[in-house]
């Protein structure tokens, strides 16, 4: 049975610390590290003056440092393992505390929401915090959107960013070509993305598991490649510039006489638009959340979850798996489209670069880290991921390296995500939390 922790399977609990064993392990680790890094770190290549000539120089100090670090690291890991060999996280919470903890848990979501609503008030002067919050909320929304497909319906989608791209380009093209306003384009972008979702849904109806994964990945790549190469419409790699900025229901955020500040008789500030964007994405994200929660109670939502748990049982009970899968794709894609339209209006500029596989992986990581299907978990995971990614900003070129390592460690440490339980959709008398290890992830 799946466990929540990375159980050290290969290490048997030993009564005393075996120094020789630890030392031997560290030596082997260091040796392997030397083998791996001798050429990659020990030698640096660079294209020299003439283009076809490569020059190289050696960096033995760095190599030695890395090998030494691995040696020490291995010892530390072994010692930690020895120290925590009887560590069982399941026993950490005493039974008596479970009641109050559940109350706190119930309060987390409203408290977070309250704080989020107040962010523009608290951080009015801090443009950076506002921008970051908008980014986080965009990913919260994308995470909730993908959650419908992956978390609820159990369909593994590796190309979710395609719908984000469809939404963004729909808005950008409609707004720049036909001069339509944001509020008309937003539903159109959602509808178009949902249409693409259904379009992707059809060929994958019969596919399962990893076949589904690769087709969705291929679909995402196809969309990206078309955006890059269909220069006459999408502007190719240069993207689309001059996308209209959002207006307050027709009132632009400018310093002009008919601008937002003048109409409402307040002093003009560039922050107004940011705050409007903040509440806009907050509203969109909450809409996603609300619709998802409502849908989960409807027959279609229950059908999604039933499909994730057991497709054969689903079919035997007369659930139409075709429409169930297609609606999951369509609903997920629609929210992706909304988020895309928002992204386009916020940035004012979009290019295919923003819609790479990395984004899909990022959103999927948010959903999985959030505990697959837990709304609160997804929101917390989005905060953790974007926050973490921002923290690594100072590391510059090492940022992705550290990010990747964090992703691996996070999975090894908590494969079931941050929120390891889920609320049942339907219950008889009283709600009880279900451990997420009991929830199936679906086979596509």
């Amino acid at each position: 049975m799946a466990t929540d922790t990375a159980a050290p399977i290969s290490v048997r609990p030993t009564p005393a610390l075996n120094v020789g064993f630890v030392f031997k392990r560290a030596c082997i680790s260091a040796l392997i590290a030397f083998g791996m890094f001798a050429l990659m770190i020990g030698v640096r290549t660079e294209a020299g003056g003439t283009s076809a000539q490569l020059v190289y120089w050696t960096r033995f100090e760095e190599l030695a440092a890395i090998v030494a670090a691995v040696f020490v690291g291995s010892i530390v890991v072994e010692l930690l393992r020895h120290r925590f060999r009887h560590f069982e996280p399941a026993n950490l919470v005493p039974r008596a505390l479970e009641g109050p903890l559940a109350t706190i848990r119930r309060l987390i979501a409203p408290a977070l929401l309250g704080f989020t609503v107040l962010i523009p008030v608290i951080f009015y002067d801090q443009r950076y915090v506002l921008d970051l919050s908008i980014l986080v909320l965009t990913y919260v929304m994308l995470g909730w959107g993908l959650n419908v497909v992956v978390g609820l319906a159990g369909l593994l989608d590796l190309g979710y960013v395609a719908f984000y791209a469809v939404g963004a380009y729909s808005y950008a093209l409609l707004a720049t070509t036909f001069d339509l306003s944001f509020w008309i384009c937003l539903p159109l972008a959602g509808i178009l993305a949902a249409f693409w979702g259904v379009l992707l849904g059809f060929p994958v109806l019969r596919l399962r598991g990893d076949y589904l994964a690769i087709v969705t990945l291929a679909f995402g790549e196809i969309i990206r490649l078309i955006l890059i190469n269909w220069q006459t419409v999408t502007g190719g790699p240069n993207g689309i510039t001059g996308i209209p900025r959002p207006t307050f229901f027709g009132i632009p955020f400018t310093a002009a006489d008919d601008g937002f500040a003048a109409v409402f008789g307040i002093e003009f500030s560039a922050t107004h638009r940011i705050i409007f964007l903040f509440y806009l994405i907050l509203a969109l994200a909450l809409l996603t959340n609300w619709v998802t929660i409502r849908l989960r109670r409807l027959p279609i939502g229950r059908a999604w979850e039933a499909l994730r748990e057991d497709e054969i049982a689903c079919r035997s009970l007369g659930i139409n798996t075709t429409t169930t899968k297609l609606t999951a794709f369509a609903v997920g894609a629609m929210f992706g489209g909304f988020a895309g339209a928002f992204f386009a209006t916020r940035q004012g500029f979009i290019s295919p670069e923003s819609f790479s596989f990395l984004e899909s992986a990022f959103i999927l990581a948010i959903v999985v880290l959030g505990g697959m299907g837990s709304q609160l978990g997804v929101a917390l995971a989005a905060v953790a991921m974007i926050g973490g990614f921002e923290l690594f900003r100072g590391l510059e070129q090492y940022r992705m390296l550290v990010f990747g390592m964090a992703m691996v460690l996070m999975m090894v440490w908590r494969p079931r995500g941050l929120v390891g339980h889920r609320d049942p959709t339907v219950f008889l008398q009283h709600k009880t939390a279900i451990s997420s290890s009991l929830v199936k992830e679906g086979h596509g």
């Binding site: 596919l207 690769i214 996070m410």
Partner: protein, 304 residues
């Protein structure tokens, strides 16, 4: 006709490289049931190791091209095998009992790590090498169009065929191959019958990585460049090849690799070079609609 023959040759050479990478995907999938997203980056690391060791061998005064080639191949295979082994150990083994998505995300994380490790340690620029093997032979010539078979293409195809023969022998005839097939069928049962599953899985990753390293060397010979980003594109195409052929099936992986190589080459030659990847992915989707488990994949038996 001549043009067609030329494209056929190019497509087969490219397909061989994809096939070699695809085998790594399909083997790992067959035995542990996970998509090893880092495999494309292992291929990239193989290319880098090949480049660096080639530079070193040349600078210490080796001149015989076959010797250099063999040494480069060995060094690349050995080093990359270490990467495969270590990655399995660090990122996948703790998650073996976990649910399906966990190792996959761990693999995606590992792929980022490897890609950026190469970028940080060797720089982001494209690294060109002067053509190592030149020349070739003209098969036939007509209508002022000579059908060329370059020596590199011969080496790529011959190496692939030789390695595949060795590899099929390992899988079909040796103890290790038998263990691997046993683990692929039923890991618990294999363990009960005395198969060291941990070791077998490690060896699967090692062999897969070594084959990816060969693909990396061939790529370097064929295109003369490596860069840190090549792992992603080649990786998803090879994975596409593995799925097209039916994931878990070894001949399927080779067949899928050839198919993807040919589709790409012919599409570039007759239609548009920009949309070659779109064509490859679209054909994958179309094939999967009619054959949901790929060309040679066995249909999954659903049990209640």
């Amino acid at each position: 006709m001549e043009y067609f023959a030329q494209q056929l040759i190019n497509g087969v050479a490219l397909g061989s490289i994809y096939g070699l990478i695809a085998i790594g995907y399909t083997m790992v999938y067959g035995i542990v049931g996970m998509i090893n997203f880092a495999h494309g980056d292992i291929f990239m690391i193989g290319g880098f190791i090949a480049l660096i060791s080639f530079l070193i061998f040349v600078s210490i005064g080796l001149t015989a091209v076959p010797v250099i080639l063999l040494l480069v191949l060995l060094v690349a295979m050995a080093t990359t095998a270490l990467y495969g082994w270590t990655i399995e150990r660090i990122a996948y083994r703790p998650l073996r009992q976990s649910f399906r998505l966990a190792p996959m995300l761990s693999a995606i994380g590992m792929s980022f790590v490897l890609g950026n490790f190469a970028q940080v340690s060797q720089g982001a620029q494209v690294k060109p090498v002067p053509p190592i093997i030149t020349g070739g032979l003209t098969l036939f010539e007509s209508n002022n169009f000579a059908v060329q078979l370059s020596n590199v293409q011969i080496i790529v195809v011959v190496t692939t065929v030789v390695l595949l023969t060795i590899f099929s022998f390992i899988v079909a005839r040796t103890r290790l191959g038998r263990d691997m097939r046993a683990c692929a069928q039923d890991q618990t049962m294999a363990a009960l019958l005395g198969v060291d599953t941990d070791r077998t899985i490690s060896m699967t990753f090692v062999i897969g990585a070594a084959l990816a390293a060969v693909a990396g060397v061939m790529y370097l010979l064929y295109y003369g460049v490596v860069d840190f980003y090549m792992g992603f594109i080649a990786g998803i195409k090879a994975f596409t090849a593995a799925v097209l052929g039916g994931i878990g099936s070894l001949p399927g992986a080779m067949l899928g690799g050839l198919a993807i190589g040919l589709i790409e080459t012919f599409w570039s030659a007759y239609f548009s070079i920009e949309y070659k990847d779109v064509a490859a992915f679209s054909i994958l989707i179309v094939v999967l609609i009619f054959m949901p488990t790929g060309i040679l994949g066995r249909p999954e038996i659903e049990k209640v």
